[in-house]
Symmetry: C2
Subunit: 242 residues, 2 copies
Protein backbone atom coordinates (compact mmCIF):
# COMPACT_ATOMS: atom_id res chain seq x y z
CA UNK A 1 0.00 0.00 0.00
CA UNK A 2 1.46 3.36 -0.97
CA UNK A 3 1.20 6.45 1.21
CA UNK A 4 1.09 9.63 -0.91
CA UNK A 5 1.63 13.19 0.26
CA UNK A 6 0.12 16.20 -1.53
CA UNK A 7 1.20 19.84 -1.30
CA UNK A 8 -1.86 21.97 -2.05
CA UNK A 9 -2.65 25.65 -2.68
CA UNK A 10 -6.22 26.92 -2.69
CA UNK A 11 -8.32 30.04 -2.84
CA UNK A 12 -10.93 29.27 -0.19
CA UNK A 13 -13.36 32.04 -1.22
CA UNK A 14 -15.91 29.77 -2.85
CA UNK A 15 -15.55 26.73 -0.59
CA UNK A 16 -17.12 25.69 2.72
CA UNK A 17 -13.66 25.02 4.13
CA UNK A 18 -11.36 22.00 3.99
CA UNK A 19 -13.45 19.29 5.57
CA UNK A 20 -16.02 17.25 3.65
CA UNK A 21 -19.58 18.20 4.62
CA UNK A 22 -23.13 18.30 3.31
CA UNK A 23 -23.56 22.07 3.05
CA UNK A 24 -21.53 22.69 -0.05
CA UNK A 25 -18.24 22.19 -1.88
CA UNK A 26 -15.12 21.68 0.23
CA UNK A 27 -11.45 21.29 -0.69
CA UNK A 28 -11.27 17.76 0.72
CA UNK A 29 -14.39 16.63 -1.18
CA UNK A 30 -13.13 18.13 -4.46
CA UNK A 31 -9.77 16.36 -4.17
CA UNK A 32 -11.31 13.06 -3.06
CA UNK A 33 -13.76 13.24 -5.94
CA UNK A 34 -10.98 13.70 -8.48
CA UNK A 35 -8.81 10.99 -6.87
CA UNK A 36 -11.72 8.54 -7.10
CA UNK A 37 -11.94 9.22 -10.85
CA UNK A 38 -8.20 9.06 -11.47
CA UNK A 39 -7.41 6.05 -9.26
CA UNK A 40 -10.70 4.19 -9.74
CA UNK A 41 -10.92 3.56 -6.01
CA UNK A 42 -12.38 5.44 -3.06
CA UNK A 43 -9.74 7.24 -1.04
CA UNK A 44 -9.95 9.37 2.11
CA UNK A 45 -7.41 12.14 2.42
CA UNK A 46 -6.09 13.47 5.71
CA UNK A 47 -5.39 17.21 5.81
CA UNK A 48 -2.77 18.79 8.07
CA UNK A 49 -5.02 21.74 8.94
CA UNK A 50 -8.81 21.79 8.65
CA UNK A 51 -9.22 25.35 7.44
CA UNK A 52 -12.63 27.01 7.87
CA UNK A 53 -14.89 28.31 5.09
CA UNK A 54 -13.25 31.17 3.20
CA UNK A 55 -9.73 30.53 4.52
CA UNK A 56 -6.95 30.09 1.93
CA UNK A 57 -3.84 27.92 1.79
CA UNK A 58 -0.52 28.28 0.06
CA UNK A 59 1.00 25.13 1.56
CA UNK A 60 -1.69 22.77 2.86
CA UNK A 61 -0.47 19.18 3.15
CA UNK A 62 -2.58 16.03 2.89
CA UNK A 63 -1.92 12.32 2.56
CA UNK A 64 -3.84 9.23 1.45
CA UNK A 65 -3.25 5.52 0.94
CA UNK A 66 -3.73 3.78 -2.38
CA UNK A 67 -3.07 0.50 -4.19
CA UNK A 68 -2.55 2.38 -7.45
CA UNK A 69 0.78 2.22 -9.25
CA UNK A 70 0.19 5.49 -11.13
CA UNK A 71 3.31 7.65 -11.55
CA UNK A 72 3.65 10.74 -9.38
CA UNK A 73 3.89 13.11 -12.32
CA UNK A 74 0.83 11.60 -14.01
CA UNK A 75 -1.09 11.83 -10.75
CA UNK A 76 -0.23 15.50 -10.29
CA UNK A 77 -1.13 16.35 -13.87
CA UNK A 78 -4.42 14.43 -13.65
CA UNK A 79 -5.32 16.21 -10.40
CA UNK A 80 -4.53 19.66 -11.76
CA UNK A 81 -6.32 18.86 -14.99
CA UNK A 82 -9.54 17.86 -13.23
CA UNK A 83 -9.61 20.08 -10.13
CA UNK A 84 -11.25 23.52 -10.27
CA UNK A 85 -8.72 26.32 -10.90
CA UNK A 86 -9.07 27.50 -7.30
CA UNK A 87 -7.23 24.34 -6.13
CA UNK A 88 -3.70 23.53 -7.32
CA UNK A 89 -1.58 20.53 -6.34
CA UNK A 90 2.05 21.67 -6.38
CA UNK A 91 3.74 18.45 -5.38
CA UNK A 92 2.98 14.73 -5.09
CA UNK A 93 5.39 12.43 -3.21
CA UNK A 94 5.58 8.86 -1.99
CA UNK A 95 6.17 8.96 1.77
CA UNK A 96 6.86 6.28 4.42
CA UNK A 97 3.80 4.38 5.69
CA UNK A 98 3.90 6.10 9.10
CA UNK A 99 3.60 9.61 7.61
CA UNK A 100 0.36 11.30 8.74
CA UNK A 101 -0.28 14.82 7.41
CA UNK A 102 -1.82 15.95 10.69
CA UNK A 103 -0.02 14.01 13.44
CA UNK A 104 3.44 14.07 11.87
CA UNK A 105 3.43 17.86 11.51
CA UNK A 106 5.91 19.59 13.83
CA UNK A 107 5.06 23.20 13.10
CA UNK A 108 2.48 25.20 11.19
CA UNK A 109 2.70 28.72 9.83
CA UNK A 110 -0.33 30.94 9.23
CA UNK A 111 -0.49 34.53 8.06
CA UNK A 112 -3.27 37.11 8.20
CA UNK A 113 -3.49 40.08 5.83
CA UNK A 114 -5.04 43.44 6.75
CA UNK A 115 -5.28 46.36 4.33
CA UNK A 116 -5.63 49.91 5.62
CA UNK A 117 -6.99 51.25 2.34
CA UNK A 118 -9.81 49.36 0.63
CA UNK A 119 -8.50 47.16 -2.17
CA UNK A 120 -10.51 45.85 -5.12
CA UNK A 121 -7.79 43.45 -6.19
CA UNK A 122 -6.84 42.09 -2.75
CA UNK A 123 -10.39 42.06 -1.37
CA UNK A 124 -10.79 38.27 -1.46
CA UNK A 125 -7.59 37.73 0.52
CA UNK A 126 -7.49 40.50 3.09
CA UNK A 127 -9.49 42.32 5.78
CA UNK A 128 -9.96 46.03 5.19
CA UNK A 129 -9.83 48.22 8.29
CA UNK A 130 -10.56 51.89 7.76
CA UNK A 131 -9.47 53.16 11.18
CA UNK A 132 -5.96 53.89 12.36
CA UNK A 133 -4.11 51.30 14.40
CA UNK A 134 -1.35 51.65 16.96
CA UNK A 135 0.86 49.02 15.46
CA UNK A 136 3.41 49.25 18.26
CA UNK A 137 0.82 47.97 20.73
CA UNK A 138 -0.11 45.14 18.37
CA UNK A 139 3.58 44.22 18.11
CA UNK A 140 3.91 44.11 21.90
CA UNK A 141 0.85 41.87 22.05
CA UNK A 142 2.29 39.54 19.39
CA UNK A 143 5.60 39.33 21.24
CA UNK A 144 3.77 38.42 24.45
CA UNK A 145 2.16 35.27 23.04
CA UNK A 146 5.49 33.74 22.02
CA UNK A 147 6.27 30.71 24.16
CA UNK A 148 4.06 27.99 25.65
CA UNK A 149 0.65 29.37 26.71
CA UNK A 150 -2.89 28.15 27.24
CA UNK A 151 -4.96 29.52 24.34
CA UNK A 152 -8.41 28.35 25.47
CA UNK A 153 -9.61 31.99 25.44
CA UNK A 154 -8.69 32.09 21.74
CA UNK A 155 -10.31 28.76 20.81
CA UNK A 156 -13.84 28.13 19.57
CA UNK A 157 -15.94 26.58 22.32
CA UNK A 158 -16.66 22.83 22.11
CA UNK A 159 -13.41 22.09 20.32
CA UNK A 160 -12.58 18.45 20.90
CA UNK A 161 -9.03 18.71 22.24
CA UNK A 162 -7.27 17.30 25.33
CA UNK A 163 -5.64 20.58 26.29
CA UNK A 164 -5.18 24.12 24.98
CA UNK A 165 -1.43 24.59 25.31
CA UNK A 166 0.35 25.74 22.18
CA UNK A 167 4.02 26.51 21.72
CA UNK A 168 4.20 29.71 19.65
CA UNK A 169 7.68 30.02 18.12
CA UNK A 170 7.11 33.26 16.22
CA UNK A 171 4.42 35.94 16.00
CA UNK A 172 4.98 39.27 14.29
CA UNK A 173 3.33 42.15 12.43
CA UNK A 174 4.99 43.50 9.28
CA UNK A 175 3.87 46.66 7.53
CA UNK A 176 4.41 47.29 3.84
CA UNK A 177 2.65 50.36 2.47
CA UNK A 178 -1.01 50.08 3.41
CA UNK A 179 -0.72 46.35 4.09
CA UNK A 180 -0.28 44.91 7.54
CA UNK A 181 0.62 41.22 7.71
CA UNK A 182 0.54 39.03 10.80
CA UNK A 183 2.59 35.81 10.72
CA UNK A 184 2.44 33.17 13.42
CA UNK A 185 4.29 29.86 13.76
CA UNK A 186 3.39 27.24 16.37
CA UNK A 187 3.47 23.51 17.03
CA UNK A 188 -0.34 23.39 16.86
CA UNK A 189 -3.31 25.72 16.45
CA UNK A 190 -6.70 25.46 18.08
CA UNK A 191 -9.94 25.95 16.14
CA UNK A 192 -10.37 29.66 15.32
CA UNK A 193 -7.17 30.59 17.17
CA UNK A 194 -5.44 32.80 14.61
CA UNK A 195 -8.61 34.72 13.77
CA UNK A 196 -9.33 35.27 17.49
CA UNK A 197 -5.78 36.49 18.13
CA UNK A 198 -5.88 38.85 15.13
CA UNK A 199 -9.33 40.19 16.01
CA UNK A 200 -8.27 40.81 19.60
CA UNK A 201 -4.95 42.42 18.64
CA UNK A 202 -6.85 44.73 16.28
CA UNK A 203 -9.00 45.75 19.27
CA UNK A 204 -5.75 46.50 21.09
CA UNK A 205 -4.44 48.48 18.12
CA UNK A 206 -7.56 50.62 17.83
CA UNK A 207 -7.57 51.35 21.55
CA UNK A 208 -10.62 49.27 22.56
CA UNK A 209 -8.64 46.81 24.64
CA UNK A 210 -5.72 47.82 26.84
CA UNK A 211 -2.59 45.78 26.24
CA UNK A 212 -2.50 44.45 29.82
CA UNK A 213 -6.07 43.21 29.42
CA UNK A 214 -4.97 41.31 26.30
CA UNK A 215 -2.09 39.77 28.26
CA UNK A 216 -4.51 38.72 30.99
CA UNK A 217 -6.75 36.86 28.53
CA UNK A 218 -4.18 34.11 28.05
CA UNK A 219 -4.79 32.72 31.52
CA UNK A 220 -8.58 33.06 31.53
CA UNK A 221 -9.46 29.88 29.58
CA UNK A 222 -12.73 31.39 28.34
CA UNK A 223 -13.44 32.37 24.72
CA UNK A 224 -15.75 35.19 25.87
CA UNK A 225 -12.73 36.97 27.38
CA UNK A 226 -11.04 37.57 24.03
CA UNK A 227 -12.15 39.84 21.20
CA UNK A 228 -14.11 39.03 18.03
CA UNK A 229 -12.72 36.74 15.34
CA UNK A 230 -11.20 38.45 12.30
CA UNK A 231 -12.94 37.47 9.03
CA UNK A 232 -11.90 34.23 7.34
CA UNK A 233 -10.84 35.79 4.04
CA UNK A 234 -7.64 37.38 5.45
CA UNK A 235 -6.30 34.06 6.77
CA UNK A 236 -3.77 31.98 4.84
CA UNK A 237 -2.26 28.62 5.82
CA UNK A 238 1.31 29.29 4.68
CA UNK A 239 3.26 26.16 5.48
CA UNK A 240 3.35 22.88 7.38
CA UNK A 241 6.74 21.71 8.65
CA UNK A 242 7.59 18.04 9.30
Amino acid sequence: MRNIKLLIEYDGTDFCGWQRQENGPTIQAEIEGVLAKVLQENVSIIGAGRTDAGVHALGQVANFRTESSLGLRELRNALNGLLPEAIVVHDVQDVPPEFHARYSARERVYSYMITQTPSAIARRHSWYLGYSLQIDLMRWGAAAIIGVHDFESFCKANSDVDHHRCNVMAARWEQEGSRLKFTIRADRFLHGMVRAIVGTLVDVGRGYTPLDEFLGMLGKKDRREAGPAAPAKGLLLEEILY
Copy 2:
Protein backbone atom coordinates in the same frame (compact mmCIF):
# COMPACT_ATOMS: atom_id res chain seq x y z
CA MET B 1 -19.59 73.63 -13.27
CA ARG B 2 -17.14 71.48 -11.33
CA ASN B 3 -14.73 69.04 -12.97
CA ILE B 4 -14.01 66.08 -10.72
CA LYS B 5 -11.21 63.55 -11.04
CA LEU B 6 -11.45 59.99 -9.70
CA LEU B 7 -8.62 57.57 -8.96
CA ILE B 8 -10.00 54.05 -9.33
CA GLU B 9 -8.87 50.49 -8.60
CA TYR B 10 -10.78 47.51 -9.97
CA ASP B 11 -10.69 43.76 -10.34
CA GLY B 12 -11.85 43.35 -13.92
CA THR B 13 -12.57 39.61 -13.69
CA ASP B 14 -16.35 39.91 -13.63
CA PHE B 15 -16.75 42.95 -15.90
CA CYS B 16 -17.03 43.42 -19.66
CA GLY B 17 -14.26 46.02 -19.52
CA TRP B 18 -14.28 49.74 -18.81
CA GLN B 19 -16.58 51.10 -21.47
CA ARG B 20 -20.37 51.16 -21.16
CA GLN B 21 -22.01 48.58 -23.43
CA GLU B 22 -25.09 46.43 -23.80
CA ASN B 23 -23.49 43.01 -23.24
CA GLY B 24 -23.01 43.17 -19.51
CA PRO B 25 -21.69 45.11 -16.53
CA THR B 26 -18.80 47.50 -17.11
CA ILE B 27 -16.75 49.65 -14.76
CA GLN B 28 -17.90 52.88 -16.43
CA ALA B 29 -21.58 51.89 -16.21
CA GLU B 30 -21.28 50.87 -12.53
CA ILE B 31 -19.67 54.19 -11.59
CA GLU B 32 -22.08 56.27 -13.69
CA GLY B 33 -25.01 54.40 -12.14
CA VAL B 34 -23.83 55.18 -8.62
CA LEU B 35 -23.02 58.82 -9.49
CA ALA B 36 -26.55 59.26 -10.86
CA LYS B 37 -27.97 58.07 -7.52
CA VAL B 38 -25.62 60.13 -5.38
CA LEU B 39 -25.70 63.36 -7.40
CA GLN B 40 -29.30 63.07 -8.63
CA GLU B 41 -28.18 63.97 -12.16
CA ASN B 42 -26.96 62.03 -15.16
CA VAL B 43 -23.21 62.21 -15.59
CA SER B 44 -20.87 60.76 -18.19
CA ILE B 45 -17.40 59.86 -17.01
CA ILE B 46 -14.31 59.91 -19.20
CA GLY B 47 -11.74 57.20 -18.49
CA ALA B 48 -8.02 57.58 -19.17
CA GLY B 49 -7.71 54.05 -20.53
CA ARG B 50 -10.54 51.93 -21.90
CA THR B 51 -9.45 48.58 -20.52
CA ASP B 52 -10.83 45.42 -22.15
CA ALA B 53 -12.97 42.75 -20.47
CA GLY B 54 -11.05 40.99 -17.70
CA VAL B 55 -8.29 43.61 -17.45
CA HIS B 56 -7.62 45.10 -13.99
CA ALA B 57 -6.59 48.56 -12.81
CA LEU B 58 -4.74 49.81 -9.78
CA GLY B 59 -4.69 53.44 -10.90
CA GLN B 60 -7.34 54.14 -13.52
CA VAL B 61 -8.26 57.83 -13.74
CA ALA B 62 -11.61 59.29 -14.83
CA ASN B 63 -13.27 62.69 -14.74
CA PHE B 64 -16.79 64.06 -14.98
CA ARG B 65 -18.57 67.39 -14.78
CA THR B 66 -21.28 68.14 -12.26
CA GLU B 67 -23.35 70.98 -10.80
CA SER B 68 -23.37 69.26 -7.41
CA SER B 69 -21.81 70.92 -4.39
CA LEU B 70 -21.29 67.65 -2.54
CA GLY B 71 -18.05 67.47 -0.52
CA LEU B 72 -15.20 65.36 -1.89
CA ARG B 73 -15.01 63.13 1.16
CA GLU B 74 -18.78 62.51 1.14
CA LEU B 75 -18.64 61.74 -2.57
CA ARG B 76 -15.86 59.21 -2.12
CA ASN B 77 -17.59 57.53 0.80
CA ALA B 78 -20.91 57.39 -1.07
CA LEU B 79 -19.20 55.87 -4.13
CA ASN B 80 -17.37 53.23 -2.11
CA GLY B 81 -20.48 52.49 -0.11
CA LEU B 82 -22.60 51.85 -3.20
CA LEU B 83 -20.14 50.39 -5.70
CA PRO B 84 -19.53 46.63 -5.83
CA GLU B 85 -16.46 45.56 -3.81
CA ALA B 86 -14.53 44.89 -7.01
CA ILE B 87 -14.39 48.66 -7.68
CA VAL B 88 -12.77 51.07 -5.20
CA VAL B 89 -12.43 54.84 -5.57
CA HIS B 90 -9.20 55.81 -3.82
CA ASP B 91 -9.28 59.54 -4.40
CA VAL B 92 -11.70 62.28 -5.49
CA GLN B 93 -10.38 65.72 -6.43
CA ASP B 94 -11.64 68.97 -7.92
CA VAL B 95 -9.54 69.71 -11.00
CA PRO B 96 -9.33 72.67 -13.43
CA PRO B 97 -12.04 72.77 -16.14
CA GLU B 98 -9.58 71.87 -18.90
CA PHE B 99 -8.54 68.58 -17.25
CA HIS B 100 -9.48 65.58 -19.42
CA ALA B 101 -8.64 62.12 -18.04
CA ARG B 102 -7.75 60.80 -21.47
CA TYR B 103 -6.30 63.74 -23.41
CA SER B 104 -4.44 65.35 -20.51
CA ALA B 105 -2.55 62.14 -19.70
CA ARG B 106 1.17 62.34 -20.47
CA GLU B 107 2.18 58.79 -19.69
CA ARG B 108 0.57 55.50 -18.83
CA VAL B 109 2.04 52.48 -17.06
CA TYR B 110 0.78 48.93 -17.54
CA SER B 111 2.09 45.70 -16.07
CA TYR B 112 1.54 42.09 -17.04
CA MET B 113 1.94 39.15 -14.63
CA ILE B 114 3.01 35.67 -15.69
CA THR B 115 3.35 32.77 -13.22
CA GLN B 116 5.56 29.81 -14.07
CA THR B 117 3.88 27.51 -11.56
CA PRO B 118 0.07 27.33 -11.50
CA SER B 119 -1.37 29.49 -8.72
CA ALA B 120 -4.80 29.11 -7.14
CA ILE B 121 -4.60 32.43 -5.33
CA ALA B 122 -3.13 34.53 -8.16
CA ARG B 123 -5.13 32.83 -10.94
CA ARG B 124 -7.47 35.78 -11.54
CA HIS B 125 -4.58 38.21 -11.98
CA SER B 126 -1.92 36.29 -13.88
CA TRP B 127 -1.24 34.08 -16.88
CA TYR B 128 0.16 30.65 -16.05
CA LEU B 129 2.76 29.31 -18.48
CA GLY B 130 3.96 25.77 -17.84
CA TYR B 131 6.90 25.79 -20.26
CA SER B 132 10.37 27.20 -19.70
CA LEU B 133 11.19 30.63 -21.07
CA GLN B 134 14.51 32.16 -22.11
CA ILE B 135 14.05 35.34 -20.18
CA ASP B 136 17.24 36.91 -21.54
CA LEU B 137 15.72 36.91 -25.03
CA MET B 138 12.50 38.46 -23.71
CA ARG B 139 14.58 41.17 -22.01
CA TRP B 140 16.38 41.94 -25.27
CA GLY B 141 13.02 42.18 -27.00
CA ALA B 142 11.67 44.54 -24.33
CA ALA B 143 14.75 46.75 -24.57
CA ALA B 144 14.31 46.96 -28.35
CA ILE B 145 10.84 48.52 -28.20
CA ILE B 146 11.99 51.44 -26.05
CA GLY B 147 11.85 54.68 -28.04
CA VAL B 148 9.42 55.94 -30.69
CA HIS B 149 8.15 53.13 -32.91
CA ASP B 150 5.17 52.30 -35.09
CA PHE B 151 3.16 49.67 -33.21
CA GLU B 152 0.52 48.92 -35.86
CA SER B 153 1.58 45.25 -35.86
CA PHE B 154 0.71 45.17 -32.15
CA CYS B 155 -2.64 46.96 -32.46
CA LYS B 156 -6.07 45.41 -32.96
CA ALA B 157 -7.26 45.95 -36.54
CA ASN B 158 -9.91 48.63 -37.18
CA SER B 159 -8.73 50.77 -34.29
CA ASP B 160 -9.82 54.32 -34.94
CA VAL B 161 -6.53 56.20 -34.56
CA ASP B 162 -4.67 58.73 -36.73
CA HIS B 163 -1.33 57.00 -36.43
CA HIS B 164 0.34 54.13 -34.58
CA ARG B 165 3.46 55.80 -33.20
CA CYS B 166 4.05 55.38 -29.49
CA ASN B 167 6.91 56.63 -27.40
CA VAL B 168 7.88 53.80 -25.05
CA MET B 169 9.91 55.19 -22.15
CA ALA B 170 10.42 51.93 -20.26
CA ALA B 171 9.82 48.24 -20.86
CA ARG B 172 11.29 45.53 -18.64
CA TRP B 173 10.85 42.01 -17.32
CA GLU B 174 11.42 41.32 -13.62
CA GLN B 175 11.55 37.86 -12.11
CA GLU B 176 10.69 37.11 -8.51
CA GLY B 177 10.47 33.43 -7.62
CA SER B 178 8.06 31.83 -10.08
CA ARG B 179 6.56 35.20 -11.06
CA LEU B 180 7.60 37.10 -14.14
CA LYS B 181 6.35 40.67 -14.39
CA PHE B 182 6.44 42.88 -17.47
CA THR B 183 6.17 46.64 -16.96
CA ILE B 184 5.79 49.13 -19.79
CA ARG B 185 5.49 52.93 -19.72
CA ALA B 186 4.56 54.97 -22.80
CA ASP B 187 2.89 58.21 -23.85
CA ARG B 188 -0.01 56.23 -25.35
CA PHE B 189 -1.08 52.65 -25.94
CA LEU B 190 -2.99 51.26 -28.92
CA HIS B 191 -5.90 48.85 -28.52
CA GLY B 192 -4.57 45.43 -27.49
CA MET B 193 -0.95 46.62 -27.62
CA VAL B 194 0.40 45.37 -24.28
CA ARG B 195 -1.23 41.95 -24.64
CA ALA B 196 0.14 41.60 -28.20
CA ILE B 197 3.65 42.59 -27.07
CA VAL B 198 3.55 40.16 -24.13
CA GLY B 199 2.14 37.31 -26.24
CA THR B 200 4.80 37.85 -28.89
CA LEU B 201 7.66 38.16 -26.39
CA VAL B 202 6.50 34.89 -24.80
CA ASP B 203 6.78 33.28 -28.26
CA VAL B 204 10.32 34.67 -28.39
CA GLY B 205 11.07 33.31 -24.90
CA ARG B 206 9.83 29.81 -25.70
CA GLY B 207 11.80 29.70 -28.94
CA TYR B 208 8.89 29.90 -31.42
CA THR B 209 9.89 33.31 -32.74
CA PRO B 210 13.53 34.33 -33.33
CA LEU B 211 14.44 37.64 -31.72
CA ASP B 212 15.33 39.27 -35.06
CA GLU B 213 11.89 38.35 -36.39
CA PHE B 214 10.34 40.11 -33.38
CA LEU B 215 12.43 43.21 -34.11
CA GLY B 216 11.27 43.13 -37.73
CA MET B 217 7.60 43.15 -36.74
CA LEU B 218 7.77 46.76 -35.58
CA GLY B 219 8.10 48.04 -39.14
CA LYS B 220 5.53 45.73 -40.73
CA LYS B 221 2.35 47.64 -39.79
CA ASP B 222 0.27 44.45 -39.88
CA ARG B 223 -1.27 42.75 -36.83
CA ARG B 224 -0.93 39.35 -38.49
CA GLU B 225 2.85 39.68 -38.29
CA ALA B 226 2.95 39.64 -34.50
CA GLY B 227 2.14 36.77 -32.13
CA PRO B 228 -1.06 35.97 -30.26
CA ALA B 229 -2.45 38.26 -27.55
CA ALA B 230 -1.73 37.25 -23.96
CA PRO B 231 -4.93 36.68 -21.91
CA ALA B 232 -6.64 39.72 -20.39
CA LYS B 233 -6.46 38.55 -16.78
CA GLY B 234 -2.68 39.13 -16.45
CA LEU B 235 -2.93 42.79 -17.50
CA LEU B 236 -3.04 45.63 -14.96
CA LEU B 237 -3.33 49.37 -15.62
CA GLU B 238 -0.88 50.56 -12.98
CA GLU B 239 -0.81 54.33 -13.27
CA ILE B 240 -1.70 57.37 -15.37
CA LEU B 241 0.69 60.32 -15.18
CA TYR B 242 -0.39 63.91 -15.89
